[in-house]
């Protein structure tokens, strides 16, 4: 498989693997928790790397995902104490974990040569190495298969728990009344998100992964009223952004993930503005039409307006 195709495939698969759980992250109002997770997995990644010496190791991914889960559970605990106001519980634990991660990096634990900059930004163009070779045939980057596995796990989880996720997202209290274990489901889902963040950080970096998770889903939310439509649109936006981001980065000779994040942001603004203008025009047309109808045939207009 050629280098460029490897990078493009990796960008598309990674963006899909992140965007899929992103739909529920956005709807459940967990976006800033993902921000916390993405910072907090740093110490997990470093300790994991020191132990396994392999960034693609499943043990590392699951171990670091536990560090992300620590943030989720810690936030919940802090909120439950009732001693803190507003969104402060979400902003207390992750900086401490992130700081611990940076100190670990600076101590050069077990010669884990991880560049903090690379952890934050990632590098898609480097993530395609090493290639996986089966029977002497290069079948694409090894890391591509890691992301494919993550995508498969995410898709399977959402498919199996679709109804439950939907119900707990839109009416948590009703789900509780039905006897659904909403907290357990939430924890499992956040673990999945955490795992996705860890798996994707090598390609897109710990901070820009938020963009892949949140922005396509938020863009889709702007123009959809049904969950199924929103999910389909999210996938479309995610892939379009991945391809455009790759192309921009290729032309400008910069990092693919940063270009993707900027493109996603621009896409969100464009769709938001277009949707605003479209509603405005529609509303104007409707009001002028109904005025015209009311003038020509007041009785019919009154009935139709009901």
């Amino acid at each position: 498989m050629s280098y460029v195709i490897g990078v493009i495939l990796l960008a598309v698969i990674t963006s899909l693997a992140c965007a899929l759980p992103g739909v529920f992250v956005v709807l459940r109002k967990n976006s800033m928790i993902v921000d916390g997770i993405s910072h907090a997995v740093l110490p997990g990644i470093i300790v994991g790397f020191a132990l396994t010496q392999d960034l693609n190791s499943p043990i590392l991914i699951l171990g670091a995902a536990l560090a992300g889960l620590l943030v989720v559970l810690g936030n919940e605990w802090l909120s439950d104490t009732g001693l803190l106001a507003g969104d402060a519980p979400q902003g207390l634990i992750f900086p401490a974990l992130f700081a611990a991660g940076i100190i670990l990096v600076s101590m050069d634990l077990q010669h884990a040569h991880i560049d903090t900059n690379a952890v934050l930004v990632g590098d898609l163009n480097l993530a395609v190495f090493p290639a996986l070779i089966v029977n002497g045939v290069n079948i694409g980057p090894e890391y591509l298969y890691v992301m494919l596995a993550v995508l498969a796990v995410n898709a399977a989880f959402i498919a199996v728990f679709y109804t439950r996720l939907k119900l707990t997202t839109f009416d948590r209290q009703f789900a509780n009344v039905l006897g659904m274990r909403t907290r357990l489901l939430n924890t499992a889902f956040m673990f999945l998100v955490s795992m996705t963040v860890v798996a994707a950080f090598k390609a897109v970096g710990a901070i820009l992964v938020i963009s892949l998770l949140v922005v396509p889903a938020a863009t889709a939310q702007l123009i959809s009223k049904r969950l199924s439509v929103m999910m389909a649109l999210t996938a479309v936006f995610a892939v379009a952004g991945a391809l455009a981001g790759f192309w921009i980065a290729y032309v400008l000779n910069t990092g693919t993930s940063a270009a993707m994040a900027v493109f996603y942001g621009a896409m969100f603004v464009t769709v938001a503005l277009t949707a605003k203008i479209a509603t405005h025009i529609r509303r104007n047309r409707r009001s002028s039409k109904s005025t015209a109808a009311a003038i020509s045939a007041p009785n019919v207009g009154a009935v139709a307006g009901e």
Binding site: V26, K29, N30, S31, M32, V34, D35, H39, L78, T81, L83, L84, A85, G86, D87, A88, Q90, G91, L92, P95, A96, F98, A99, A100, I102, I103, S106, M107, T116, N117, L120, V121, G205, I207, L208, I210, S211, V214, V215, A218, Q221, L222, L252, N253, T254, G255, S257, A258, A259, M260, A261, V262, Y264, G265, A266, F268, A272, A275, K276
Partner: protein
């Protein structure tokens, strides 16, 4: 240098006279303490507005501003790109823009505020990363170590930087004191504030600008990514000890100052440990102690009170049972 610091680790911490007679150490200590005091005091308002996390957005979004300021300085003016004042101006502009963008998205679309903040944060940070890459790919003078904007490098604080930090920080604190009444009213009763004729948008912009300043002056010592802890942690700790606004702002500033000073001292005397992260851990410890053991509402005190109340109740019921 690393070797010496490893040897030092076994011994007791460096004594204070040795610490303060070193120019670099002094700069680090006073620089970080000033940052801690200013961000602690102004963070109290962000906390009470229940928008602590906006500081995370501002911190990340300040990066492209600082880098644009660097490019402007080098390419347009041909001066030193690391000029602290220019850096602050650039960072304040993009930091404020990001905060306004997040609030506008939340107010005008159906996107919730937390998602709006995440979008703003990651888009501005992505822009910063693009600029960083661009600067790295081109031969600009004075670009060495520019990635320090991310995590800071306390040892690079010069006397001029310290002066600028103190001056800009003092400006932010002065604004806070001058508009104390307006800030308080807007924080606790926004409706009354608007009814009395105060312009909500003007006060909000002013309040967020002071918070942005508090975050931005930390860039050289702490870096943008960790500044969120300087704004969120001290007020969360201070809240456990006091019920009044002046008490909260003052105590938050004190916690910020002490945490930063202590953290700076620890990081230097341990050697080879970056200053910003150590300060964050010290601040977090102060917060945890406050949460667990502050005298009025902490977890331990509440638990003790509950045990005592249960005992008293049992005693009362027993007494009632004996002589009905």
């Amino acid at each position: 240098m690393p070797k010496r610091s490893w040897q030092r680790r076994g011994k007791a911490a460096m004594d204070l006279i040795e610490f303060f007679s070193n120019h670099v150490f002094r700069m680090v200590f006073f620089g970080t303490t000033v940052i801690g005091i200013v961000s602690g005091a102004l963070g109290a308002f962000a906390y009470l507005r229940k928008q602590s996390l906006i500081s995370d957005v501002i911190g990340h979004a300040a990066l492209p501003g600082a880098l644009l300021a660097f490019l402007m300085a080098v390419v347009v003016f041909g001066i030193n790109g690391r000029n602290m004042l220019l850096l602050i101006v650039g960072a304040v502009v993009t930091g404020t823009l990001a905060a306004l963008f997040a609030n506008a998205v939340a107010a005008r679309t159906k996107i919730a505020i937390d998602t709006a903040m995440a979008i703003s944060l990651t888009t501005f940070f992505g822009l910063g990363m693009l600029l960083l890459r661009m600067i790295a790919n081109n031969p600009y003078p004075g670009k060495g170590g520019i990635q320090d904007y991310l995590f800071g490098n306390a040892a690079s604080i010069t006397r001029a930087d310290l002066t600028t930090s103190v001056a800009v920080g003092a400006l932010a604190l002065t604004l806070m004191i001058v508009f104390w009444k307006e800030f308080t009213l807007r924080t606790f009763d926004p409706v009354l504030s608007t009814m009395l004729g105060f312009r909500a948008r003007v006060i909000d912009t002013l309040m967020f600008s002071t918070i942005v300043i508090a975050i931005v002056i930390g860039v050289k010592a702490v870096g943008f990514v960790l500044m969120v802890a300087f704004v969120v942690t001290p007020p969360a700790a201070a809240r456990q000890w006091t019920n009044t606004l002046p008490g909260m702002v003052a105590l938050s500033a004190v916690f910020g100052g002490i945490g930063s000073g202590l953290g700076a001292y620890l990081s230097i005397s341990l050697g080879n440990v970056p200053t910003g992260p150590v300060i964050v851990l010290v601040l977090f410890s102060i917060f945890l102690m406050s949460l667990l053991a502050s005298p009025k509402r902490s977890i331990v005190v509440t638990a003790l009170r509950r045990v005592r109340a249960r005992k008293a109740l049992r005693r009362e019921l027993m007494a009632e049972g004996r002589n009905p």
